[in-house]
Symmetry: C2
Subunit: 686 residues, 2 copies
Amino acid sequence: MQQLLTDHGVVVSILFGALSLAAAAVLIRSVLSADNGNSKMVEIAKAVQDGASAYLHRQVVAVALISVLVFAGIWLLRDTATALGFVVGAVCSLAAGYIGMTIAVRANVRTAQAASKSAHTALQVAFNGGAVTGLLVVGLGLISVGGFYLIVLKTSENPKVAIDSLVGLALGSSLISVFARLGGGIYTKAADVGADLVGKIEQQLDEDDPRNPATIADNVGDNVGDCAGMAADVFETYAVSLIGGVLVGFLTAAGYEQALTYPFVICGIAIIGALLGIGFVNFTKLDATRSLVGGVIISGVVTALLLFPVTRAMFPEAMIINGKTVGSNQLFLCLLVGIVMTYASVWITNYFTSTFHKPVRKIAKASETGHATNIIAGISTGHHATLVPVLCIVASIWICYSQADLYGIAIAVVSMLSLSGIIISLDAFGPITDNAGGIAVMSGLDPKVREITDGLDAVGNTMKAVTKGYAIASAGLAAMVLFGSYVEELKAHLGGIYVFDLMNHKVMIGLFVGGLLPFSFTAYAMDAVGNAAGAVVNEVRRQIDKFPGILKGTETPDYGQCVDIVTKAALKQMVLPALLPVIFVVAMAFLGPEALGGVLVGTIVTGLFVGISMTSAGGAWDNAKKYIEDGNHGGKGSLAHAASVTGDTVGDPYKDTAGPAVNPMIKVVNILAILIIPIIFEASKH
Amino acid sequence: MQQLLTDHGVVVSILFGALSLAAAAVLIRSVLSADNGNSKMVEIAKAVQDGASAYLHRQVVAVALISVLVFAGIWLLRDTATALGFVVGAVCSLAAGYIGMTIAVRANVRTAQAASKSAHTALQVAFNGGAVTGLLVVGLGLISVGGFYLIVLKTSENPKVAIDSLVGLALGSSLISVFARLGGGIYTKAADVGADLVGKIEQQLDEDDPRNPATIADNVGDNVGDCAGMAADVFETYAVSLIGGVLVGFLTAAGYEQALTYPFVICGIAIIGALLGIGFVNFTKLDATRSLVGGVIISGVVTALLLFPVTRAMFPEAMIINGKTVGSNQLFLCLLVGIVMTYASVWITNYFTSTFHKPVRKIAKASETGHATNIIAGISTGHHATLVPVLCIVASIWICYSQADLYGIAIAVVSMLSLSGIIISLDAFGPITDNAGGIAVMSGLDPKVREITDGLDAVGNTMKAVTKGYAIASAGLAAMVLFGSYVEELKAHLGGIYVFDLMNHKVMIGLFVGGLLPFSFTAYAMDAVGNAAGAVVNEVRRQIDKFPGILKGTETPDYGQCVDIVTKAALKQMVLPALLPVIFVVAMAFLGPEALGGVLVGTIVTGLFVGISMTSAGGAWDNAKKYIEDGNHGGKGSLAHAASVTGDTVGDPYKDTAGPAVNPMIKVVNILAILIIPIIFEASKH
């Protein structure tokens, strides 16, 4: 087995990836075979599907233009393999989002229909719709990274060339993912905020009232943002972690073939865990939260149990890495750290964003004294939410480093991300139930259906927050891996030893500029939502003024016009924030490798806190509103409720646009820096 | 002159400090000799004075307990001189705040009376009341640091001992200043928010309505927070910068006597600039903003012009610092960088917080669509406000480092802070006019008086924001100086060379933990305001329920009870956040010098952004409300106005509690780290 996994570990993992895709195909069949309800439901679902596809098509065109430029740049300034890698990464990242969303927009109407039978059937349809995305991401991730690596290796017969070209793949996936997170995030929140501002506040319409011209756009937004954007983001995190693991294995454990294939094997084996977890959710009859959490626990435990003998088999003798003796026990411990980190990040996010714990209830209570105290409580909750994750991250770094140096941290990151399959399944389940509720209301189904979907949606809200916490926490843990890759690449290309001493003023300058990036980036992202929402508000007001029959229910609003406007606005508004990290990295590169190294670390240090605090606060605000709507602190219609709606609206761009986009933004900074080393620094050496 | 300034520069600067105190005495006489109005006004002013003194007395008692413990710790674990330095720093920091506030609470009633004559007379009285604090801070700062240094030098005959003991002085001033900023900030905002929530929102009373039982507490808060807290904070910044300059001069420019006295001389000469600036505001008849800005410009220009020949005289020959040739031209350039940084930070803060520019108007416009959009616009403005200051800081670091290594940065920081005299004068002017307005309303003066004080107050709001931006920007610029001092102290005590490489996992862990501190600290600080405000709300509600005559105006509320409650609450609530940095620094020290070094830098990196974004957003929200109240976007009573009140209330703990307290918090972390080097690391070496 040792020989098989060492020599053919990549091939084996690709086979597991194929298994994952096959399972996704089975789930797609199962979802599509479910009853899709009456003709009204089909019609509404069709409108959402069309809007979502139209948006994604235009996003592809917009992103394609920029990608062609980047491709040309890499091709001219670096090499063909890296440029091709960029294309593969970009295409797979898009594909993961696109296919996942295509299924999600079909699962939503079927979930609504299933909810008219029972809550558990609805859970099953929605979860399986989400699991398609989960399996796609890990399957595509493994096959693209592994396959591309093997092809380049075969062609060039030089592992260094093959690994370098993977950096191109990482950049492709990261860049697409920034655009997808931002574009989708701006879309979904602009539509949401716009629909709420005119519909709910000015015209006192309910959520998802079909008389609101922006209501279809709002439902489209859930899909392009929470499904497609999220899938691209986690695909990127998964691919970059795997590539980081391979890179660090190659650079720090030189001479040990199995150090390079081990990350692939971890991801491959974890697919079995994911499949069993998905099976658990389908075949048990527990309530939603228990089913889903049970699925996560099973995935992690199965993955760990399987990897114990595998690790022993692959590393019968200890390696010597940077003076440390690293055997299978050390590696397995690092692997466990990654799995525990996953559990911890799920638990912590759940604590801060679920209606059952103190933080959300504190915000709900603070709403009694008005809008301002709700906001202060939410912001403070976001800041508080950074404490435990960061302490977990530093503890993980400490343990893994002591066990297996930088490679140990890389393994922890890979094992953390290897659980993506099940984690994304939970996340994608959220927007599907959210949309199912919308379709139920719009097509006038029994209010009981909406009650069932609302129950699932509250669980979905927490699960959505979980993925964001997970992605950004993994970026924190990966900080040293990404920085280490940068430093090793510097050595490989330029020779010599690089020290990034905090006493070097260039490093300090880099830290400040890097630290600035998440703040500027989120500022522009929040502005973008505001600008795009403004366009929606104007259009909704225009339609209501011009066609008075809309509010009376005698005329159908022009949903398409709203979809069109928010599509254009989102695409226009995403460009500036997405280019910000690119511009800063290229500019700072001219100050030299020390300054650029400082930028990488500075971005992670502030980005970690900005990302965690924004996504946690947003999730907590959302559920504080739900908690009040459940009849606490005066319930619907009270001052507390009005205040909680304010908090929820502030939380929208926090948790769905700016906050989650910080994770891919950090990656773009890091990978771009690695990529331009030979371009800028080698040139300036001559 | 060279010999005089090199050998006796410290003595000369102490004489300038004495001049500053003498000028303050003259201003005190002039303020006290102004007419203090009718008996009603005197009575109200007396209540505010009594409340403020009562609070400060109790704060002294509370802080004394903690200080005695710290003093004992330093005395036992380090040495007597350092422990005495701690006492001197703590006492002077308290004294600056105490005396400044004592004058401010007397200037406010006189400003109200002067405003019934003319706007310019009111400006003069209020400004001179503020200038007392400005002159006190620089005078006390120079005399305490210089005097203590000379005394220890004389006693020990060892410059190293004298300079080490200055670190104790720095810690004393920083620790007091964290407590003063936090305690005062919690007090002022708890009273303000509490008074607003019940008075304005529940009972529709106007600001400063005498029927509101919390109205005296609210006015007391302006004094204990914005006057005493601010004065302690800037005293700390001033003293620490001066000490940092001396320390770096001693450590990096060893053998050049004048490098050590030059920081003192800069501060001394700048007092002439401050006096001329204060004179300008008094003797010109421009409008408020122009007078004040003119005063700042004159102070800076005069200081620079005087220091040019002085620098040439003190450095007739170039020094060699870390391989760089550093002559008077290089040093003068660094000095100019500090003065330009001051102007830049004034200009930038003014841009982001004054009603005349885009950011505030954007927030005002966003208020039209409600509470949530107001908040989003404010938060985004805060994030945007970090860009230019940080770019200025990194440019300054770059220039100064290239000119004169670390010493150049230290000189820039000293020259920036040497302008404290005039900057604080502007700041302290704000709460005086704010209080004057309160007294005018409460004592039923002609509404025209309130109009005049309101006009001055809007200017004061921006000026208050300016000082906070200035203090936190100086902390960013001082980052390398503080870190450099830490590293040099490590070398001095432990020997050997220390490298803080970002590739060292301990450094990375330190960066994350340090980065965490400002987030946790501000979270607790915001909670503290909420908790203390809750106590005020309950008390106000109780009085109104129990004594129905209060609202009818037939019964006088028990103001003292509110003052008492908020005093106790503020003191109780300040302890946890103030101890947070102390606990983290001591705990992280056990992970070794690399981890602790990472903590220092991490705290500055995130603290800079958290501090700037919070203080800017808060100032912008406040003035957006004022802008709407001036009749824009629907004016008072509109939805936009209600939304802007929400923003202003959220901004209160942002700009007056959590945000400004980040600056002294950063300093405590840095100085404590320097101080415990020999205690923890030398012990663990044995």
